[in-house]
Structures are given as structure tokens and as C-alpha cells.
Symmetry: C2
Subunit: 502 residues, 2 copies
């Protein structure tokens, strides 16, 4: 234990030790049952006499804060009163730089606060309104149904990998990712029509990190970035925190309004186009083939890279599959990002990107100084789990389940929500994007929904802060059973009725 | 499979499919034994006639690129010649923005390329020189001895955690980290004399990410940052990539030359002081108690936050323990960073930071848009593994082993290296920092060392690019057995002799 001692002070050393330990115990940082260092050890560590430590311990023991058990050591006792959590240690002010930081009042985009992380985790703070009655049905989460996750398979595989690789699974791995996993991903991508070489794949901590790395490499503060509006809130949060100028392009039922693209490219000179062409988050729309070609042509003409976020590209339930933008890329124009979070398990935190050309090495370097490399053990386990066959089987099964749930939600919406609610039936993905009748706000709806025992992702989270629109909400149909979907939408209908009557 | 089709083209659809698959096979992205989609399935996906797909497959089969196995499907065959790796698809040039990126020739700091990651991973690219003869002995790595990692314990614990928590271990967790793990860390820190509340701890992907988050929150491009010179290369790489102005402060055998601090603070107005007070990387020095107090006083007077990197703070082999700067912090002045990478296993990628005051929530928010959260499964397993008692036992054991290795290396240096080599015996940590006699460069020494079958981390990796100094090298004494240390230093002596004679 490293206790700060002031040898110049008038306060005897034993009292300094005693005061330090007392404060730790009273503030709760030395929790009950913590074993204090042996007297001999602490004396040696601090370069002081044993008697000094003994005196300090004796004072604390006399005050009932610690006790020594013969042959076992000295332990912290439960204390009667814990100091209140310090807004600041001595009631002193925070240092000036902290006050300045607080005064800046940096905006935190709701895209991160309300949907992906909190809802997925069932974090207590999502339970901010009181749903005392029925169990809460959440349509807010960003991911699929965790009950479909192959937990047991993964458990066995992690065992096998640790037995097989031993310490090899626990040292730093290659910064760009475990080679065999990159090879597997190349195969999975090839089976989906995207041609990638393992050497152009970079493993990341989820697609969020992939987007972050691309942003760090390609954009500086005040650069413009072109995004669909609405779009994924986690990306918006990142772009706003990076002080980028966010240029929005509207979305209709056929995806990004590519007919408006050229004008925006000429006007704003964006340094990157961020797009979700398949089962767009949050609108669920899919970019048509013609628009895809046009998008690539224009991006090429205006010399703008495309970041393609294909987070659920293969969750298609009907309609015709469209090629990934990356598959249409004549070479080095498109950076492709995807993840295992939606397909398999978000808690693994493994995603990847595909990039050709000089940018690839810059991205790898950026990965290195961001966090070195992604957990070797998890990568090796995924590699052992994922094969093209298994991935496709999992995909087929998920699609069957999710298709039924989408249909159940569409049916329930027609049945239980007022006719003024607008919805575009999505051909795949995880979400239905719904608009309330004129004048109603999903921000205002949320507390009523909580009252009824249902929740959703408020639409505001998917707009840039400056263009916030509260008439929409995103409903995840994939994470609940058809029965819960029906019940949840029914509750939502009641909440809307209450809001309208309010 | 999503195959791009151009329905306006004169090329028949079956030929487009054939060409797409052929290119995939020839380029290696569709590897041998990949199963192609069933004809019926692909026809449905693409919205075309089955005959069209049959025709495409027939052409490929006739060319010996695929074969259909009755009742099993259609598979890619091994192909005779793979296309050479495309510098670019059609021999076409990279898009202009990529050419510009390449032309910028962004500097990659050696601190990341040569030490932590590559050496730790035994990455093939470290084997750039030919040590054909004896097996390579590496003193280059940044971590401890992987043979001491508790692999088998961890394997059992992951099992138990997955059985206990099921899918709960595989969904997103809290962004700031798994609560019980934060509580455990608070206890471990308390036992080391650092008072922290679980609510002020943020779990990160190793300490590298912790440093990255602090940098992102506190600094803008062109801001000044004050660092010891030399210092940890991974931090330098990060700071240089963020376009910070790096202000160096020298280090002597008592750590940072705090007597030079005030002048530098007045002159450069740094926005952050990054320091490694305990067993400094790479010099191994430990900041004296007086200098610690003075550092905190000055940082407070000039309103500069301190980032304390305590990556191996408790690997002390002799001398008196010094309090962490965080333990001396009157409140909100010091951000404390540490990691499980050095103590337990680097491949886990789990570190943490402690911050009080308004900055804490900014760091949590930054963690969210960087990569959401760190792997839930790994956090839960660590929580289950780490207790104060177990951590201290592991620490004691490691210290016993590493102390002997340090002594072995110091002995071998005196015995086998020329007397002109300068070394300060460290009281703890993992490294010995050695300086070659006047005029000799460790960059030039490296190929000779490889020839002899030994390697080290060249000193240049620990200096800002603008102040590179090649007279030093960092020798890791913790990762090799005493015998290998003796043999490795002997080889190093031979290499120095050869260089000197060259």
C-alpha cells in the first residue's frame, strides 16, 4: 500500500497513516473486509519503523474501524456512517479547467444515450419512468433477440480455443486482427457477393469503432460530412463530438435521395459520405440498384470516399437483394463496415471494415493508437465459431423468425395505432420507422408509453442536433416475441390516445 | 449472395453472374470449397429466372472453376492461377483522395510499430532480420512473462461466468463498465493506497484507449501536451497523430525533472501533463516523493490536468513505495490510468481510468462514441477472477520472479557489455534503459543483434519524432528466464562488438 507521507510535517507519521486509512474507510473506498497490509510489510514499503505502523493500527482498532484476527491479518470493519459521495473532497471547488469543461456544456447527442447501449443492456436508467404495472416491453433496443444468441455453442468454443491455444489466446494479437478470422470474414463476405482479401480487412471493436477510425483518418474539425437524415444516432454522436459540419441528405422509401446528391456535393464539399444502404437505420429502407450506381458515380466524380455501413445487410425478408456498394466499387472508393453485434452477439464487441488502397494502412495505424488490438481470445473464439455454413444457417433462422415478427408488428400497427400513424413496411433489418399524426411528439409520448409499459427509441436520437425532429419513433420488431409485439403495440396505441387527449 | 446486375446492359444477365463469380474465384476471394448459393435461392435473391443462374453455373463448371455435388450443392474448386494481388482492381489508379492521402506520407511513430504490439505478438514482421542460427531471445516486448499468466484459472472462470450469466454476458454492458468489476477495482486501488469510488472508474480497452479518450476530451489539434522525454511510444504515436505540439521535459534518475516544469508551463501553456511516475517507461525511474508534491502544486497553480499512467506501479522490487499522484490529488486534478495488461494478460484488453469531477462523464461519453463499451464477457470474467487477495498474491509472485530477472540482467550487463554502456538499475517495473557508448546507434545495432539472435526495443521509439535519439535501447528483463537473459545479453555484447568494429 502506497500511503503518502510528509516527513517534513509536524504531524507524526503514525497519525498520517491513521488519517489516511481512516479517510479511506469512512469514504467507502476501503470497503469492509479489505485486508490491510501486514505491519511488517507496510513498514518496509514505507521505509518506516514497525512501531509506527502498529501505533496507527492500534488507534484505528480502538475506534472500531479495523480489527486484527490472530494468524489471519488486519481487516476493515463495517463502519457506521459513510461519508457522503464527495462532489469534491474537501468541499473545495473543482480545478478551473474542470469548471471550464463543465461550463462549456458539451452537447451529448441522444443517439448514444437512449438506444443502442442503454436499451440493449437493460440498464436501470432506461427504467426512468415508472412502469409499476405490467412488465416493460421494449422496442427501443438496437439489436436482435438475445434469446437467439448461440451462447452454449460459444461457451464450448471458448473452452476449446483456450485449451488449444493456451497463452497464445491471451497475448497481444496482430493489430489488424487475427489472420484466420480475417480469412473467414473474407469467405463470408464472398458468399454475400462482396469481394475482399483478408489483407484488406481490419478487425475492430464493433462497427462503432470502425466508423470512429475512418472519421479520425479522413476528417478534421469543421470538415463537412454527408449523411442521410435521419441516420444512426451513434454515428451522429461521433460526428458531432468530432466537430464536423453535418450535411444531411433526405431519405425516401427507396433510400437516400441520390437526386439531391450532386447539388450538396457541389455546395458543401464533404470529405466523406456516410451511408446505410441496406435496411437503413432507422427508416428500414433499402437503396435501389440504380441509386447505388449513381451514388458511386457521383462520389467518384467529386472525389469523395463512401463509408458503407452494412450493419444488417443480410437480414432480408422479401424483395430482391441489392449488391453492396463495395461490390460495385471500381477500386478504393468504398470503405465497408459491418459487425457481428447484430448477427451474433453485441457483447463480443467485434466488427470489421474492408478498405483498399493507401487508406488501409492508415486505418490499421489508427486502430493501434486507439486501443492496440481487439481481444485476441474473443477473435479466436469467433473464428472457431463462424464458418460460411454456420453463418448462413444462423442467418436463415434469424430471417425466418424476424420476418414473422415484422409482419406481426405491421399487423398490430394497423390494428391498434390510429390511422394517422405513418409507416413504410421494411423489406428487412430490425426496425420500423413510424411517424405520429401531425403535431404529436414522440418526446411527449415517451412518458405516457412508460406508464403503459412499453418503450421505443424516440426519433430525435436519429437527427443531427440542429435538425431535431420529434414526430418519429423507431420500433425494433426483432427483439420481442409476436405476442409481446401485439401487446406492446396495443399499449403504444393507448399511450398515443392518452397523449392526444392530454 | 448479392451480385450486382445491370439490367440495362447488353451483356446477358447469365454472363454478368458468370463474370462476377469468375472474378471472385480467380482473385481468391471465393476460396476453394466455398459453397455457392443453390440455384433456386440465387434466382430468388436476384429476382431472375432459374435458367439464367443455371447457365452461369454451367459455364463456370465447364471451365473447371466450380463443381456440383449431387444432393450437396455447388462448390468452388481450387483454381490453377490466382490473379496477382490487385494494387488496384483494373490496373486503374486509386481515386484522387487516396492518392492525396498517400502523398501526405503521414508519419507513423515507431513507438507503435516496434515494441508493444508486434513484439508481444511474436508477429512475423518482427522477424525481419534473419536469425537463422539460435532461437531469438527478445528483450523488445512491452509486457511481462506470458508463462506466468493464469490461463487455466481464467479458462475455468469464463466457463463459470457463461454458465452463471448466460446471455447476460453477451449483450451490451454499461458503457462505463461492469459495475461489480468497477467495485473490485476500487478495492484493489484502495489496497494500493489510491482512493477511488466505483462511480469514478471507467473501464477501457487497455490503458492505450484510456489515454486516447483523455486526449480526445481535453485536447484539440495544435494544443501543447507536456510529456517526459523519453516516454511510452504508444502515447507519443497517439499525440503525434492528434497533431498535438509535444513539449518534452527531461528525466533523470529521480524521474521527471520537476525543477524545469514551471518554465515549460509558462512558456508553452500545455493542456495536459502526461506522466509515468512509477517505473517509468522506458527509463525505469521512479519519481521521488518531493517531486510528486511539487508536480501537483505546479499543475494546480498553472491549471493543467495531470494524466498519471501507472501501468506497472506495483511491480516494486526494492526501495520505498511512493504514493500515486492520484493519492496526493486534492480533488479532480489527476486522471489515473492503469491496466490489467501488464499484471495479468494483455490479450484481454482491459484497462481503466479514475477521474473525479465533470470530466468523468465526458470520458464516459467519449468511450461510447469510440466503441460503445468493452467486451462484457471479458469484464465479467475478470471480475470473477480478481479479488484483492488474489491480485496481491499474483503481484507478490510476479515481483519475486521479476526481481531475480532484473538482477540477472544487471549482472549480465556488467559482465558482457562494454563498460561504456550506461545503465540505471531500476527499483521495479519491467525495463532497463541502456545507453550505448558515444557515437554508437541502436538503430545500427539492431541488424547485428538479429544476426546474433537477440532483439530489443530501439530507443528512438520512445522519443518524439522531432527529437529522435538513437543512442538508447530498452531491455525488457521480465519476459525471459535468467538463463535466457544471460545468453541474450552475451549475444548483445557480441553484436555491439561487431558494430563497433564495423
Amino acid at each position: 500500500m502506497r500511503i503518502p507521507l510528509d516527513r517534513q510535517s509536524n504531524v507524526p507519521l503514525y497519525q498520517q497513516i491513521e488519517a489516511f486509512l481512516r479517510e479511506g474507510i469512512m469514504s467507502g473506498s476501503l470497503v469492509p473486509d479489505t485486508r490491510l497490509p501486514a505491519i511488517r510489510q507496510l513498514a518496509r514499503d514505507l521505509g518506516i519503523n514497525r512501531i509506527t505502523v502498529e501505533n496507527a493500527y492500534a488507534e484505528l482498532e480502538a475506534d472500531g474501524l479495523i480489527c486484527s484476527r490472530v494468524g489471519s491479518g488486519t481487516y476493515v470493519l463495517p463502519s457506521y456512517q459513510l461519508a457522503p459521495p464527495p462532489p469534491n473532497g474537501e468541499g473545495e471547488a473543482w480545478p478551473l479547467w474542470q469548471q471550464e469543461l463543465a461550463a462549456q456544456g458539451r452537447a451529448h447527442h441522444e443517439g448514444l444515450l437512449s438506444t443502442e447501449v442503454l436499451a440493449g443492456a437493460g440498464h436501470p436508467s432506461t427504467a426512468r419512468a415508472g412502469a409499476q404495472g405490467p412488465e416493460l416491453i421494449t422496442f427501443a433496443t438496437g439489436v436482435g433477440d438475445s434469446r437467439l444468441f448461440p451462447v452454449e455453442d460459444l461457451r464450448k468454443i471458448i473452452q476449446n480455443v483456450m485449451r488449444r491455444d493456451g497463452v497464445g489466446a491471451l497475448v497481444y494479437g496482430e493489430p489488424r486482427g487475427y489472420g484466420p478470422l480475417r480469412a473467414t470474414i473474407a469467405q463470408v463476405l464472398a458468399s454475400q457477393g462482396v469481394s475482399a482479401r483478408p489483407d484488406n480487412i481490419l478487425i475492430t471493436a464493433g462497427s462503432q469503432q470502425a466508423i470512429s477510425l475512418v472519421t479520425q483518418v479522413l476528417l478534421k474539425p469543421n470538415d463537412a460530412i454527408l449523411v442521410e437524415v435521419p441516420t444512426y444516432g451513434g454515428a451522429l454522436a461521433l460526428f458531432e463530438a468530432a466537430n464536423l459540419k453535418i450535411v444531411g441528405i433526405p431519405v425516401d422509401e427507396a433510400g437516400m435521395r441520390v437526386d439531391e446528391l450532386e447539388k450538396l456535393l457541389q455546395q458543401h464539399h464533404p470529405k466523406l459520405i456516410y451511408t446505410i444502404p441496406n435496411f437503413h437505420n432507422p427508416t428500414g429502407t433499402c437503396l435501389t440498384g440504380q441509386r447505388r450506381s449513381r451514388l458511386i458515380t457521383l462520389a467518384d466524380r467529386y472525389n469523395v470516399p463512401i463509408l458503407e455501413d452494412d450493419f444488417v445487410g443480410d437480414f432480408r425478408y422479401d424483395g430482391r437483394a441489392q449488391p453492396a456498394l463495395k461490390a460495385l466499387d471500381p477500386g478504393g472508393r468504398v470503405i465497408y463496415v459491418s459487425t457481428f453485434s447484430k448477427m451474433l452477439m453485441p457483447g463480443l464487441r467485434v466488427g470489421f471494415l474492408v478498405a483498399d488502397g493507401p487508406i488501409y494502412e492508415e486505418l490499421v495505424y489508427s486502430k493501434r493508437f486507439n486501443d492496440m488490438t481487439t481481444s485476441n481470445l474473443i477473435q479466436r473464439s469467433l473464428e472457431s465459431y463462424v464458418t460460411v455454413g454456420r453463418f448462413e444457417a444462423h442467418l436463415r433462422r434469424s430471417c425466418q423468425v424476424y420476418r414473422k415478427r415484422r409482419d406481426a408488428m405491421l399487423w398490430a400497427i394497423r390494428r391498434y395505432l390510429p390511422p394517422g400513424v405513418q409507416v413504410n413496411p421494411p423489406q428487412g433489418g430490425l426496425y420500423i420507422w413510424a411517424r405520429l399524426p401531425q403535431g404529436l411528439s414522440t418526446d411527449q409520448l415517451l412518458p405516457f408509453a412508460w406508464e403503459q409499459g412499453v418503450t421505443f427509441a424516440p426519433g430525435r436520437a436519429f437527427f443531427p442536433t440542429a435538425q431535431a425532429d420529434s414526430s418519429y419513433m423507431r420500433l425494433n420488431f426483432a427483439a420481442q416475441s409476436p405476442d409481446d409485439i401485439t401487446e406492446g403495440i396495443k399499449r403504444l396505441g393507448q399511450a398515443i390516445a392518452k397523449l392526444a387527449a392530454n
